[in-house]
């Protein structure tokens, strides 16, 4: 016990898994294996864009954006236990905040053309403030009622986006997103560094990668803090949490605000990757996609949100590849038994049900099983 207060030494006495102080046990990457995986993952992500074609790199950026948004929703739904169908609404607010502050004024829409260093943080802060205003209402209800309340929010939001023409361009028209110019440095242009050509899609990928890494680490820190614990307490037993000194209103408001901050950043980046934003983008189905990210990836884990994002973004590609072998119409029109989009929705739905029943910890839970198998190897448990 006294070792924590005494001078902490990082000795392991020849035993790599022995912690000799609390700080090293609390570390995010507290085992050698985790550090190794992170290193491998990081190098893979840096090299990958140079090996893949343009479409795949853009898809990679979309994975990172879905991971950021997924982490946000997981903090709210997975950690704090507040189901939200309004995630797309907050993505939309983030996207339009960015577009107004960092976009061009063209075609009757407002655009201030500011730098990314200004619009990126504000694309997170504005949705967070909106969420903090709405949260006291949402904090009064739970479970199904909260789901319905947030469902209402996403439809109200879509309507507002369609009507607010000076900001959004209006239904069916849309507007150009913010310009990713960071401190005068255009992040959506081709560059050449040490003879290696970096195209604009790769640049965008790296921009998303940096923001993703920072936000994932911040989230990981947050979840091991006193606030992360109070989120989980509110989720598991709200009355007991109150009696233990956790304010429900303050905790839920914080959860909604932080979730919306992550959603806003994800929305701003998403709008840049898709190139043009229409109000219809921020609809109920985008919210469901994010719920799929966290349910399939694993509730209340940051790593799971990332796994879920990879899965949800990559699945349509897989389904497309399958269309050659199955009686599926690759387009939207009639013809085959199903079209691609229908099949995709069916697969999502089935997977959410299967994961809820078989492995509620999602893909992350599957990973835990694999890991534990090898940990115990050669024994079965």
């Amino acid at each position: 016990m006294s070792s924590a207060t005494s001078k902490s030494r990082h000795t392991t006495r020849g035993r790599p898994r022995l912690y000799t102080n609390y700080a090293s046990e609390m570390a995010i990457f507290n085992t050698g294996a985790k550090r190794l995986w992170i290193l491998i993952g990081f190098f893979a992500l840096v090299i990958l864009p140079f090996l893949l074609d343009r479409d795949m790199v853009s898809l990679g950026a979309k994975v990172l954006i879905f991971a950021i948004g997924g982490i946000g929703l997981n903090l709210l739904t997975g950690y704090a236990g507040q189901v939200s169908l309004a995630h797309a609404f907050f993505l939309g607010i983030g996207a339009y905040t960015a577009a107004v502050l960092g976009g061009e004024a063209r075609g009757g829409v407002i655009g201030l053309g500011w730098d990314m260093a200004i619009w990126l943080p504000l694309a997170g802060l504005v949705p967070a403030i909106v969420a903090a205003v709405i949260a006291p209402l949402a904090a009064r209800v739970r479970g199904l009622y909260l789901a319905i309340l947030t469902l209402g929010l996403v439809f109200i939001g879509e309507h507002i986006f369609k009507e607010a023409k000076p900001i959004t361009g209006g239904a069916g028209v849309g507007r150009a997103p913010a310009e990713p110019v960071f401190l005068g440095f255009d992040l959506f242009a081709n560059y050449e560094v040490f003879g290696i050509e970096i195209d604009r899609y790769t640049m965008l990928f790296f921009t998303c990668l940096v923001i993703f890494v920072v936000m994932a680490l911040l989230a990981r820190n947050f979840t091991r803090s006193r606030f992360g614990r109070s989120f989980a307490a509110v989720r598991d037993r709200d009355i007991a949490a109150e009696v233990m000194g956790v304010s429900l209103l303050r905790t839920k408001t914080l959860a909604f605000a932080i979730s919306a901050f992550y959603a806003g950043i994800a929305g701003a980046l998403f709008s840049i990757v898709i190139g043009r934003i229409s109000p219809e983008t921020w609809n109920f189905f985008l919210s469901v996609d994010f719920l799929a990210v966290i349910f399939i990836g694993g509730l209340a884990t940051i790593t799971g949100s990332i796994m879920g994002a990879i899965f949800v973004v990559m699945l349509p590609q897989l389904v497309n590849a399958l269309t050659r072998y199955l009686p599926i119409d690759p387009g939207v029109g009639g013809g085959g038994l199903l079209n691609v989009f229908e099949l995709q929705s069916i697969i999502f739905g089935v997977l959410i049900v299967v994961f809820l029943i078989v492995e509620p910890r999602g893909l992350y839970g599957l990973w835990l099983r694999v890991r534990n198998y090898f940990k115990a190897w050669p024994f079965s448990y």
Partner: protein, 259 residues
Amino acid sequence: MVELTPILQANELALSFGGTKALRGVSFSVEEGELFAVIGPNGAGKTSIFNCISGVYRPQEGNVTMQGEEIVGKAPEDVAHMGIARMFQNIELFDNLTVLDNLMLGRGSHMDYSVLSAFLFTPKARRQEVANRAVVEDIIDFLDIENYRAYPVGMLPYGVKKRVELGRALAMQPKLLLLDEPVAGMNVEETEDMARFILDVRAEMGISMILVEHDMGLVMDLADRVLVLDFGEQIALGTPDVVQADPNVIRAYLGEEML
């Protein structure tokens, strides 16, 4: 008891749910370091008293003061910050958190780093986490639950859960501890263990306690004074021997013809 300074004082508490009167004018005070027991048949209003003290219910009449400060009307989390901790009748632990995190949650009011420093895990946050972790480890040591430290609470057996719940309440370093049936559903050995822990808590930490319990042997052995309730009414208050001999108490528990 040499010096009598009440830590908690309840005056004429009355609580009703529609037509049902849960409490009808209950008054008592708990002294510094005292182990005060509340007993009574099922539905007598014992847990209602706890809910009034911890801010979950608001009594229609009467007031409760903690070291002179009014409690009635305060939100549960504010009551907790005043130094009142509680162990629930039906275990109310955070099932998906580990034993360690459950106890660390009890340390919440002893940490004050901001949201921003939580995100950045600044040295201040780290220092507070480590310092409070040391306190929690002492309690884990005290309750002999080292082996379960890293397990999610939902997986643990009943007796251990009860002990973890006591630990979570102790982690708050309360001035007053409310124990709602700490040995309900336990066998003889587990009951004796819990009784030992309760006595140790009093001896080592000097925390005042209010105990609600159906196990009469335990109450009469441990308590300094006993309050007896029947249908929300206060029918006796005094030392265990006095209460045991009180005809009203015998009538409430055993019926009229036993006298």
